[in-house]
Amino acid sequence: MAKQIDYKQRAMPKQEPFERVKNFDEVALGYTETLAQEEASRCLGCKRPFCTQGCPVAVDIPGFIQCIVDGDFAGGIRKIKETNALPAVCGRVCPQEEQCEQVCVLGKKGDPVSIGRLERFLADWEAASGATETPDIAPPTGKRIAIVGSGPAGVTVANDLALLGHEVVIYEALHDAGGVLTYGIPEFRLPKAIVKREVEYVKSLGVKLYTDYIVGKTKTIDKLGDEFDAIFIAAGAGLPWFLEIPGENLNGVYSANEYLTRCNLMKGFRFPEYDTPIKRPSNVAVFGGGNVAMDSARTALRLGADEVHIVYRRSRSELPAREEEVENAEEEGVIFDFLTLPIRLNGNEHGWLTSLECLKMELGEPDDSGRRRPVPIEGSEFIMPVDAAVCSIGNSPNPLIPMTTPGLEVGRKGNIVADEETGKTSRDAIWAGGDVVTGAATVISAMGAGRNAAKDIHEYLSKK
């Protein structure tokens, strides 16, 4: 008998907006077993699944979903972990609507299967059950690999190469591991306990982790090269970009990196219990429209701001952020000023930001990217009173390693040049991947790059 197709996605329970803007606890609460099984039952179990092709690391999606239907949660998580070492993270932060869920056949007529939420369900189930399985580790090969950076790219390579029996050491510049997952993405979207758990898991495979270790400075890549057989560079994103408008060095103007690092890594939201202070302004403007902008705006609300604006020069449909986070921000009361261009920041005599001057835009002819180019409307200047502004318009790759590694080819924007397939750089025995190669991208693409590089490094080491 043909299965009745259910086109309606099960909603995931969340904290109520008026409650959650007052705390830093996770917003989304995750599916219950019943909801997960209902949602999983919607999957048609396609023979040639588009979703798997849409996933940068090709998770066997119909496979793990069938396990949920069967109530075999341990089997489900095992399936995901065959190709994805960080399911609890990916289930929460992947832009599924542009990847696996975008191509789900159910999406043609109704809602796609909520793949990310199901992935998250299994990962959380495993954590709660306390029965994390450790896979078999190949016998020691005697080969040593150094990894620079403990973000998703670095952790993925560490995981893969440790399983293959290599000795892996991760060097992390900050005092905590996890990269952007730790210093950038806020607690209310990705609890730090989850990141810690994933890092601990990789350590349990025998990977050594040194924090407070800045490769290029504490030790150069060349010196590391004397001690290791191969090096993987995953140093992530670096210096923030600013809009280059007057007033950006006023007090009260932050880069998103600073703002979020103060809050997340340094736990500024718990000042004075933690020593790093963070201001609690009342009117905040955030520039940009990506995940980083959403995170900054929602952080500002939780720090007690009366009004938080996202100032974005294009329209809603161009927002690069995950759809779910845009909806969350809207529900929480973030005000979106679309088609608005910041042109000047004004301050008082003490150097503190007091207001923001903007220009209204309208959509003109399509540009190279096919999106209609926003053009300023003459005479549309207006002033917004603000006491804080957060610039979230992106950043260039971290400069420390290129600056201290002769012969390492670097692109025009300062990114390390690496082969797209293998991650191999211009230098012998050195690979690179993640944001330091591509510029700001996604967690899963950084992991995908790590996966490919690990394969190539393993091949190289096996021949050596």
């Binding site: 510049a173 900050l174 005092h175 210093y183 924090t211 407070d212 270790y213 800045i214 400075k217 504490t218 030790k219 994103a237 670096g238 210096l239 923030p240 600013f242 950006e248 060095n249 007090n251 932050y254 880069s255 990196n257 600073e258 690092t261 103060r262 890594l265 340094m266 736990k267 000042f271 004075p272 219990e273 933690y274 020593d275 790093t276 202070p277 003490h350 150097g351 950043n395 971290n398 400069p399 420390l400 600056m403």
Partner: protein, 277 residues
């Protein structure tokens, strides 16, 4: 964890901190800084490197107790340990044979100036050292500087050692001492670096300052250490911390440094630096 080998007050409110950090000791160069965290709740605090012992694997910094985090550092004892000590960060101070170099130090900057003076001497320069402070009891390491300098000149506000007054007398002092520097390097509080740059500008003598903005990561990620140099945005942690003092936008820099004063309860003023000028 990083072992504390020594932590003692060397002059009122200034502490010497010696930490066991072999890799940092190997790599340290004049002009660098480290980032330390006194405990798991602590801020990431940048401290200039004042000395190192590559064999013993230790680095030394001099810090002034100003806010909560430095108060925590001041409570550390030999045998204690610290969760973070990262570095060495920042570009190295440019060292070559410039001819005659005047090294100006004050406050914790007397410490970080020392390796600079040593390296300059080794590169063949004629090095003169000028130490500046509110009173003679705030100056230290004169004997160390004497070993690498032609002369150590002291300037105190109360006249208890050397010239009475402050760095604004520099032109006059140089004439009296018959020193014609090809380069001046200043390490110290913002006021000393700014004031020195202002008096050396009309003299046309290039002046390098070692900037000390607010920082978080110190690795070129957060951007809080930005300042304007020659009209351009620069990041002290990766573009500096050494800059040409005549090109720094001092007014903006001073304001940015005060961002968290209300939270950190800066007793800096009480310690005398800001009342110098």
């Amino acid at each position: 964890m990083f072992q504390i080998i020594e932590r003692r007050m060397i002059v009122p409110n200034l502490h010497e901190l010696v930490v066991e950090a072999p890799d940092i000791a190997q790599a340290a160069q004049p002009g660098n800084f480290i980032i330390v965290r006194p405990d798991e709740y602590g801020e990431r605090t940048p401290l200039s490197v004042a000395d190192w012992d590559r064999e013993a694997g230790t680095v030394t910094s001099i810090f002034m107790q100003v806010g909560g985090s430095t108060a925590k550092l001041a409570r550390l004892k030999p045998g204690d340990s610290m969760p973070s000590c990262a570095g060495p960060l920042g570009k190295d101070t440019e060292i070559e044979n410039f001819g005659t170099v005047l090294c100006v130090g004050g406050c914790y900057g007397i410490g970080s100036l020392y390796p600079v003076a040593c390296a300059l001497k080794e590169a063949g320069n004629k090095v003169y050292t000028l130490l500046e402070g509110r009173s003679s009891y705030l100056l230290y390491w004169q004997d160390r500087f004497a070993e690498v300098s032609e002369r150590v000149i002291e300037v105190t506000r109360d006249g208890t050692a050397g010239y009475k007054g402050h760095i604004s007398r520099l032109a006059e002092i140089l004439t009296l001492e018959k020193i014609q520097p090809d380069l001046i390097i200043v390490n110290g509080c913002t006021f000393l670096m700014m004031k020195t740059s202002k008096v050396t500008e009309p003299m046309g003598c290039k002046t390098i300052v070692n900037m000390n903005p607010i920082m978080i990561d110190g690795t070129g990620m957060c951007g809080v250490c930005r300042l304007t140099v020659a009209g351009k945005m620069k990041f002290a942690c990766v573009d500096g911390p050494d800059f040409n003092g005549h090109e720094v936008d001092w007014e903006e820099f001073l304001k940015r440094r005060q961002t968290y004063n209300p939270e950190e309860v800066h007793p800096l003023r009480k310690s005398g630096c800001a009342s110098h000028f």
